[in-house]
Amino acid sequence: MGVKKSLPLLGAFASLLVLSGCVAGDGGDAEASTIVTVAQGGEGATLDNALIAGGNEYSIVTSIYDLLMMVDRDGTLQPALATSAEQVSDTVWRLELREGVTFHDGDAFDAEDVKWTLDRAMDPESGSGQVTYITSIEEVTVVDPLVVEITTAYPDPTLMMSLQMLPIGSRDYFEEVGAEEYGSNPIGTGPFAFTSWTPGDRVELVAYDDHWRGRPEIDGVVFRTIPDAASITSALRAGEVDLITNVSPDLASTLESDAIKILTQDSNRSIMVTLETETAPFDDPRVRRALQLATDVESIVDNVLVGYAKLIPTLLAPIYLGYDDELEPYAYEPEEARELLAEAGYPEGVSFTMYAPSGRYLKDSDVAQALVAQWKEAGFTVDLQVMEWANFVPRYLENSLGTYLIGYGTPIFDSGRGLNAYLSCDSAGSSFCDPAFDEQLAEAMSIGDDDERAARYRELNKTIYDLSTHVFMYQQVDVYGASSRLDWSPRPDERVWLFDARVE
């Protein structure tokens, strides 16, 4: 007990010795080492691969653990621990696993680890939220040490995409050390091995020499937590850190210098306004369209988000399979909006309540306020209710918000999941219901052929575009600040994965 309790202190002491050179100095030492320090705003509560939920935690954990398959920078799924995944029937996936992979403690990785990881996520007792990504799975079977078969309750062609949310852990290690140690002293097969964790401060990782991809170019990674937006940019300016995530758009231009570069990546996250389509006034498609036409998305992108966003025609960003690039985002037509509103029987305008989270998405409450101001011009009077995310979520899940600003983003780059979440009759996040639409969507989501599935999604996208089910707005652009010595480019899955990073 005593030894265990003193571990964080020991870790802090060790990190103090290791880092005092490069942190306190003028950066001279930092130049020589190829340890990359990443600062993120959010704080991880655990390093247990089944319990992580936030993006910050995923960046750290996917450095320590590997995935079965992982998207590349184009968003295309590439083999990782699984060398191939084949659908042997509509409902059975057969995964061939990579040979010769070892965990950081030297244990060999095999099919039992995959089965155990998936089973654990599906076990309600584990408390893992990851079960929601693999709802379709019925059973995981070990065929031989390097072959796993996954049986699903219904055809799930995007299962391999979804499994990106489940980093693979070591069954033997878990059984040996127990859940608590497993989550605070993690062992994986990933490109970086865990060395220490000072909760709330930093996680230190070192390059894993025997990684199956080869040894990473850099010697190690330090993930620091710096919650304050001004302090995180100061740390980058002072040369203490090499990479910072989620740079606020207004700070980006002031940050750029000879020593600091700004990196951008079209985010997988899009922002929209969900409309309560089942009651007046938004049960009338003309009123919904009028609201869309009264929305000057371009002005919001330019003025509120300082250009760090891109207009999209419907709900999801272009990286999702099924995006329709033939659809044009609706233009800003306030006159036409007024006319439509009058035609729908509301010449005096309408009033409604809109909810918006605060601090969840880039400038979310500012965007909501800008919308309210724009809409007022066209005759929409809005009672805006801004809420902290933790208060927003329970109401969202009760489906009691009606009309609200919301975002969607996940590394599962298939339109089906997003369309289902925001449009199907029984989804908590949907204020729209059309059984025929649900049927078409369910059918589309079961099609194994990517091109064919994409074609069906495009049809559905056209439907919601024509119906103006939501106010369609924009996709965010992820902004990173990096020291000029770091050679790395951001990924569409928002994960800071530094296997291929270099330091000059």
């Binding site: 964080p8 509560a45 709330g200 302090s231 933790a390 329970p394 979440a421």
Partner: protein, 306 residues
């Protein structure tokens, strides 16, 4: 003595019970946290399963009695986020807060008392005016401004100290100075006011008449008689600081319990929030017990009358 100790224990238990009830009330009002631990498109069945794994599906009074039962066995529940014992999660962050508190508090208290006493002895001198001007500044400057300016000046423009974190020996300096500023200012004003008050007393006149040196009068008589007041104010400060300085810890990325509390509240990780509140409450009780002991030492008159 036994009676006194028993009374103190009962009093402490009553305070802690009050804290537990209050925090549980907050938990009830704050609503269901389960949505924060799963993706937004989780099905109601999946959410139910997670809820029941955390024991959140049971009636609130059952959860309450369970919690109190656990408390008596030294079990403060399990963190909803990490599924580790809540007490462990808090205890591993406590050293950072204690370290920051001591580095901020002890120098600030000493400097404050010394400066205040000196200012009182040289009332209306330039030194007095400068010291009181500075203390007014220390009290009025918000921590987030002082911290940001300190980072900009001596971490970015002139890189002497790290901007934050707890990774190097120098890292404590900026957060400790920023946090200690108000304490030093308060201590100096309190010390000055009380010492000035004492110096106006008749016993001081007597001492002067007897030819006692001025420095002895200030230190041995006036300051000694002022300490009880100053220490009371400082003890309040110490209690607040030990509760975690959320803003200072956030600006300087210092991994203390203040930030843990803020983050756990945002994540509705109730067991961790409860553990922090309880620990801080215990800390307060301990500080005030110690304070009562120091009174007897600082001012023996408090012992009489019993």
């Amino acid at each position: 003595m036994i009676k006194k100790t028993a009374f103190a224990l009962i009093e402490t238990a009553a305070v802690l019970l009050g804290v537990v009830v209050a925090v549980f009330g907050m938990r009830y009002l704050a609503g269901d946290p389960v949505g924060l631990y799963a993706p937004l498109d989780a099905t109601p069945e999946q959410l139910d399963a997670i809820r029941s794994a955390h024991g959140l599906d049971r009636p609130i009074y059952e959860q309450f009695f369970d919690y109190v039962g656990g408390l008596l066995r030294g079990d403060l529940g399990t963190s909803l986020q990490s599924r580790r014992p809540a007490l462990d999660v808090v205890l591993e962050r406590l050293p950072a807060t204690v370290e920051l508190t001591l580095w901020a508090f002890i120098p600030a208290a000493i400097i404050g008392i010394v400066v205040g006493t000196f200012a009182a002895a040289r009332r209306n001198s330039l030194i007095d005016k400068a010291a009181m001007g500075f203390s007014l500044f220390g009290l009025s400057v918000p921590v987030y401004w002082a911290g940001a300016v300190a980072i900009l000046l001596v971490a970015v423009v002139i890189p002497i100290f790290p901007t934050g974190g707890r990774g190097s020996p120098l890292a404590i300096v900026l957060p400790a100075v920023t946090l200690g500023l108000a304490t030093a200012a308060r201590a100096s004003r309190m010390a000055r006011a009380s010492v000035v008050g004492q110096l106006n007393q008749r016993y001081v006149l007597t001492a002067r008449a007897k030819g006692v040196s001025e420095s002895r009068i200030v230190v041995r008589h006036a300051l000694r008689n002022s300490l009880a007041t100053v220490v009371t104010v400082l003890a309040l400060d110490l209690g607040v600081l030990l509760g975690g300085a959320v803003i200072t810890e956030t600006i300087f990325a210092w991994p203390g319990i203040g930030r843990l509390a803020a983050q756990s509240i945002a994540a509705r990780d109730f067991p961790v929030v409860q553990a922090i509140v309880l620990l801080v409450a215990v800390g307060y009780v301990v500080i005030f017990r110690l304070l009562n002991l120091t009174y007897r030492f600082l001012d023996p008159r408090t012992e009489t009358g019993r």
